[in-house]
Amino acid sequence: MAELLSVRDLRIGAISHPPGEPPREVTLVEGVSFDLARGKVLGLIGESGAGKSTIGLATLAHGRGGVRITGGQVLLDGTDILSLGRRDVNRLRGARVCYVAQSAAAAFNPAHRLIDQVIEATLLRGLMSREAARARAVHLFDILGLPDPASFGDRFPHQVSGGQLQRAMTAMALCPNPALIVFDEPTTALDVTTQLDVLAAIKHAIEVTGTAAIYITHDLAVVAQVADDIMVLRHGRVVEYGPARQIIDAPGKDYTRALVSAQRTTRAEAADQSGAVLEIDGVSAGYGGGANVLEGVSLRLPKGQTLAIVGESGSGKSTLARVITGLLPPATGRVLFEGAPLPPSAARRDRDQLRRIQLIYQMADTALNPRQTVRELIGRPLGFYFGLRGAAKTARVTQLLEQIEMGRGFLDRYPAELSGGQKQRVAIARALAAEPEIILCDEPTSALDPLVAEGILRLLARLRRETGVSYLFITHDLGIVRAFADSVAIMHRGKVVRAGRKSAALSPPFDAYTARLLACVPEMRLGWLEETLAMRKDPDQ
């Protein structure tokens, strides 16, 4: 048997409970077949809802929540694991097939030391003695580039960083020396610089141990770096399946081509960047008497333009948004609106000052009240700021819905009945309803699939053109900056390390941090990872 894993005509369903309707059976995955040879890597790619995680978990005979595998075969070394009993399945899991979750921070048990969790399944299956398992774990920590491998495992999950946890989870999967590992978006939750390290560590570990892998991601540029074969999925069906080189260099289907070219175009920046609708002047701020999270930040946002704030998590970019909105009064420094200083605390700003600066959040899911309809959500600022009621309010809400390309059919829907992109559009309409001069966008597209995110960005660009609103756009995605911004500020550890016109800020000569940040953005071509790693002298910096 040449193939390690053969999936034949896989069919997966679930019971869906749409609000206000009787539960019904839905098909999540249909007619998916693929083969995976020993030591090879298959990339599964698609938007959310494409069924890629569901397929990955099916190779461990697992269905999340109410998900059930309703047909097909998953042959591991010729044995259909879907026909095995619970005990036999458990014997496979954690021994021959292992799983690496998207968020290792949530997937590790907070109550136990890392080493105990890493070697747990290996010991229970009786694959190694405790000493041998510990020695293997330490060896894997070393391969994966974790600091101080001998004692790393003695720490608890909360004592190490997210990127380190993701590598520890990879070590946990590799420990029993499995034939197959399923990586479920292992780098999606990480910063771009961390992602590069983890990606390199995973690729290196796969090569050294010779395990086969299924690598699930929505980022084609990432999967291009690790996969031998790529399967593109949409709505639970295979769009295209073939060798990585063919999918990347010569995609056969329109959908794949759209994914490959989702590397956005560059937009020319505004020529005149004088004047400022918003000015941040020497702001330092911190939480609860702790050390300052922001240190002497000064920025300028010209009217009708977009200033992108770029940085990793912990760089202080969301804190800056809190200072501007007045949720966090700064320790020192001022925020000026059209040249006049704003009161530091939102409680001291008047209604008109509040109205002129609105926010859009990363998670539209949590930013919209689940018990209010779209009409109420968008209508609230209309009533609050402009005193609109009744028919006038409905007319204005409808107008706003049309502006965000949704229409009046959505008036009485609840957020649960909207897709991720639609929710974000409603959040945008709610911000627009206040007729603001500035909208602070806090990573509004980073939780969305690439094609949906593109639609949101197009909408924001159109609104900027039509209403003259200015954006302060927080992101960690340099692709968005190129496509969308006029000026850029790059933040690192609470300080602005580089700021200015987009063309100047993103062109050499670079400071050390900006150079590193730019080098970490995955490019959609094979071999990018190797080139980048070869260029870096010090991989742990």
Partner: protein, 330 residues
């Protein structure tokens, strides 16, 4: 998670010790506050021991005389300070009704109460946790449904009703158990255990369901965590997942509800004591209230409060210690 580490300062090397010490200090302050409430509350109560004791027809001179004798003519603040000074030395004064030292009488009653509560706790706590684990292991299947139904039935019946049912069946019909459950000095341990069998059974019925259902709920809420899915995908058995991966993260809510029920076992058992004629603290306090025997009522109140505060403090400290973020700071 900010909520879990609330109150932990940056760079604090021993957040655990600091939190525990703070919790201890809080408990002591609380106990003093409660002592003032007890004293003030009784002070504000209508009625007066001297008139109750001497009867309606007593002369004003006799009443004044008795009041002076009991120290009731002193200002309240003085009496409170005297009382507290005594209480700190373990001296709760003299009972107005029996003229005997309160501490001595309470000592016997308290040890009876603690014995009854201790036996009930020793049975109900492990049993509740065991049943909780079993019902999670067989969630939504027959064992889970039976345990839930039975515990719901047990919690719905008033405790006096459970008590009389037990007496009717086990003491009268089957003649298996002793009634009344009166213990006295000089009884051997086995004899005592046999005598308290029925009231202990009644108490177990009352507290079991609450603790079991909380254990079940706490475990189930942890069972939906991603790390439990990780454990499933590592091929661990259901029981190992519950015990090793869910239980350590469900300690805080379980311990809290156990503490509440243990406190109830000591201070809330008046009904069971009366039904089974058991000489515990509850009955003693009720008797003292009827005759307005203030030193006894105050002492009982203070001891009950101390037990409540102590058990809740213990639960909080266990919950703090069970949090790995506090036990092992970064």
């Amino acid at each position: 998670m900010p909520s879990q580490t609330a109150g932990v300062r940056r760079g604090d090397r021993h957040p655990l010790a600091r939190l525990v010490v703070r919790r201890l200090a809080l408990s002591i302050a609380l106990l003093f506050a409660v002592s003032i409430l007890i004293f003030g509350g009784l002070e504000a109560m209508p009625g007066d021991f001297a008139t109750t004791y001497l009867g309606q027809s007593a002369t004003p001179a006799a009443v004044a005389n008795l009041r002076a004798q009991l120290g009731l003519d002193q200002p309240a603040a003085t009496r409170y300070l005297d009382w507290m000074a005594g209480a700190l030395r373990g001296d709760f004064g003299t009972s107005w009704a029996s003229r005997g030292p309160v501490s001595e009488q309470i000592g016997q009653r308290l040890s009876n109460s603690l014995f009854l509560a201790g036996v009930a706790a020793a049975i109900s706590v492990p049993l509740a946790i065991l049943l909780g684990v079993v019902s999670v292991r067989f969630r939504d299947r027959a064992p889970d449904r039976i345990i839930n139904l039975a515990s719901l039935a047990a919690i719905s019946l008033p405790e006096f009703f459970v008590g009389y049912l037990l007496i009717l069946f086990f003491a009268i019909r089957l003649n298996l158990a002793t009634f009344p459950a009166t213990v006295h000095e000089g009884m051997g341990l086995l004899e005592r255990l046999r005598v308290v069998a029925l009231p202990v059974t009644g108490l177990v019925f009352v507290v079991l369901a609450h603790m079991m259902r909380m254990t079940r709920a706490a475990l189930i809420s942890v069972m939906s965590s991603p790390y439990v899915e990780t454990a499933e995908l590592k091929g661990l058995s259901a029981l190992r997942i519950i015990l090793r991966h869910a239980a350590p993260n469900a300690v805080a809510p379980i311990v809290n509800v156990i503490a509440l029920n243990l406190a109830y076992l000591v201070v809330g058992v008046v009904v069971i004591e009366v039904v089974f004629v058991y000489p515990g603290m509850g009955q003693y306090m009720v008797d003292a209230v009827t005759v307005r025997d203030m030193p006894v009522v105050q002492a009982c109140g203070l001891i009950f409060a101390a037990i409540y505060i102590f058990l809740n403090m213990l639960a909080d400290i266990i919950a703090i210690v069970a949090n790995p973020r506090l036990r092992h700071p970064r």
